[in-house]
């Protein structure tokens, strides 16, 4: 078993009386695609927000390469190598695609507190941005305004922005939500491609996609881990079938 890049230990987040995430412990191993599935309200998104620092844990801890990062802010976690995408496209709608990816790429400069040197002189930022756009098949759309892209393309841009920060770990929150079959297929290919050499945590409702991409699957129900295993194990698990009562698992 390879080493865990990121580890949640007894992670809990309460909203009032509701424990949206309740004592979740999962180890995410380096270089693998680990999917989180579960019915609506299972706490998947809350869990992701805890990992990316957007929510504070009520108790428990998150460790990145063994270091405690439970209290770290989103910007610090990003700099430590955790990149994420959001359920709804979360872009800079007024900027061009290049502009969006540029901002992401520029975040890897040691500092952006540079006041007099024109930004375009930073060739390495431009290259990083161009690479990310290209990886996501958006090279031709660089000049287009992000807010005017199709929904599917916005998802691609979202992933391109995250790639431009060169993350070691990628958190993808329902990257296929709201996509048509063709678009979904394109994004699935994209995820497969970006997963090479990276660790990915994937929250997704599309079971077919999950089972085709993931190396490991964790099922969350009511804020707790129901089961973790290979896609094969999870697919055959009686408990999982029961949790998804009435829903079909392919």
């Amino acid at each position: 078993m390879s080493e865990a890049l990121l580890e949640a230990r007894g992670l809990t987040r309460r909203f009032g009386a509701l424990a949206a995430v309740n004592g979740v412990s999962i180890a995410f191993e380096e270089g693998r695609v680990h999917a989180l599935i579960g019915p609506n309200g299972a706490g998947k998104s809350t869990f992701l927000n805890l990992l990316s620092g957007e929510l504070r844990a009520t108790s428990g801890e998150v460790r990145l390469r063994g270091e405690d990062v439970t209290q770290a802010t989103p910007d610090r976690l990003s700099r430590l190598g955790i990149g994420r995408t959001y359920q709804t496209a979360n872009l800079f709608p007024e900027l061009s695609c290049s502009g969006c990816v540029w901002l992401a790429a520029q975040s890897r400069l040691r500092t952006s507190m540079v006041f007099l040197r024109p930004a375009e002189r930073y060739a390495e930022v431009g290259q990083r941005a161009a690479r990310a756009l290209q990886a996501c098949g958006l090279s031709a759309r660089g000049g287009d305004i992000a807010g005017q892209l199709s929904y599917g393309e916005q998802r691609q841009l979202e992933i391109a922005m995250t790639l431009a920060t060169e993350p070691a770990l990628l958190l993808l929150d329902e990257p296929l939500a709201g996509l048509g079959p063709d678009e979904a297929e394109r994004v699935v290919d994209l995820i497969r491609q970006v997963a090479r050499g990276r660790t990915v945590i994937l929250v997704e409702h599309d079971m077919e996609a999950v089972f085709s991409i993931a190396d490991a699957v964790t099922v969350l129900v009511d804020g707790r881990v129901l089961e973790t295993g290979s896609p094969q194990q999870v697919r055959q698990s009686a408990a999982v079938r029961e949790a998804y009562l009435g829903e079909e698992i392919p």
């Binding site: 990316s52 957007e54 802010t73 989103p74 910007d75 610090r76 990003s78 700099r79 994420r84 979360n90 872009l91 800079f92 709608p93 007024e94 900027l95 540029w102 901002l103 992401a104 520029q106 975040s107 890897r108 400069l109 952006s112 507190m113 540079v114 006041f115 007099l116 040197r117 024109p118 930004a119 930073y122 930022v125 922005m161 920060t165």
Partner: protein
């Protein structure tokens, strides 16, 4: 580019006025250009960072009062000494006020800046040692020649414009644009956004302090009304009238308002109503302000 030529022509024309030696125009346009500096520095916050501050006049006034204090209290008037000290005073106050205010966002940020501004207003208004509601004379002005003051103001305006244009093209300026567009996303991309906003607040406020210093130098007089939030509100209106997020738009707005104020006063004592009507018309028909008249699809 045509826009750049127009700007240079306008700047040259303003500079040429210095040679006229005409008392009225030097005073009038000097004041108008101080308004330009105030407006374009506030544009850095309102137009480029998405931060609406009502504290801009506070830093203008603090710097002007600092000058009065330095000359009256210590007998220092040399601009090479007083100018840096007054800017430093404005920047230090901005660091503290900004650090506290930026814990709030959106409309709460506006309210907190308003509260600080009013605190300072009453401090200067009610303390006899600070001149009270009458204000203070700057007994020994750093520059007494009207022409020299005018040239200094003109240079300052050009410098501020060039400096802000440079900053906006640099990596830092891009970060501000990103914060305006989607601050939460900027955080998740690895930018500690509050720190960037604080620096913008300090830069803009120091430049407001520059405007205050020039104003006190030109008039030799400071009063608490210059510190009050109504002044901040007026600068904000100037920025919106001119077109936020363009730099040259707010400068244009400041010049226009100065002319309306001057000539409007002759037509009617209710010239403020003229400004109000203009603001309403611009908001309704020119959502991008006066700058919208010069833009086709050009983007900064």
């Amino acid at each position: 580019m045509k826009g750049r030529v127009l700007l240079l022509a306008g700047a040259a024309a303003l500079g040429a006025i210095a040679f006229s030696g005409d008392r009225f125009w030097l005073q009038f346009l000097g004041k108008a250009m101080i308004g330009c500096i105030l407006a374009i520095s506030l544009d850095l916050l309102v137009g480029f960072t998405g931060l609406v501050s009502l504290a801009h006049s506070a830093f203008f006034g603090l710097s002007a009062y600092a000058l009065a204090g330095l000359t009256n209290g210590l007998g220092w008037s040399n601009p090479l000494v007083t100018l840096p000290l007054c800017l430093l005073a404005a920047a230090a106050a901005a660091l503290l006020i900004g650090w506290l205010s930026l814990r709030a966002t959106g409309v709460y940020f506006i309210m907190v800046t308003l509260a600080f501004t009013q605190m300072l207003f009453y401090l200067f208004n009610d303390a006899p040692a600070l001149g009270g509601s009458d204000g203070l004379y700057v007994q020994d002005r750093p520059i007494s020649s009207r022409t020299a003051s005018y040239v200094l103001i003109w240079c300052a305006l050009l410098l501020v414009y060039v400096l802000l244009s440079r900053i906006l093209r640099a990596p830092y300026g891009r970060v501000l644009e990103g914060i305006r567009g989607n601050e939460q996303r900027m955080r998740s991309l690895g930018y500690p956004t509050r720190r960037y906003k604080l620096v913008a607040f300090v830069i803009a406020s120091a430049l407001a302090g520059l405007a205050g210093y020039l104003d006190a130098t030109l008039y030799g007089f400071v009063n608490p009304a210059q510190l009050g939030w109504r002044q901040s509100g007026l600068v904000l209106v100037t920025v919106l009238l001119g077109g936020k997020g363009t730099l040259y738009g707010p400068a244009l707005g400041a010049l226009l308002l100065a002319f309306i104020e001057h000539y409007g006063e002759r037509v009617t004592e209710h010239w403020n109503a003229l400004i109000a009507a203009l603001v309403i018309a611009v908001v309704l028909f020119l959502p991008r302000g006066l700058a919208g008249l010069f833009q086709r699809s050009a983007r900064v």
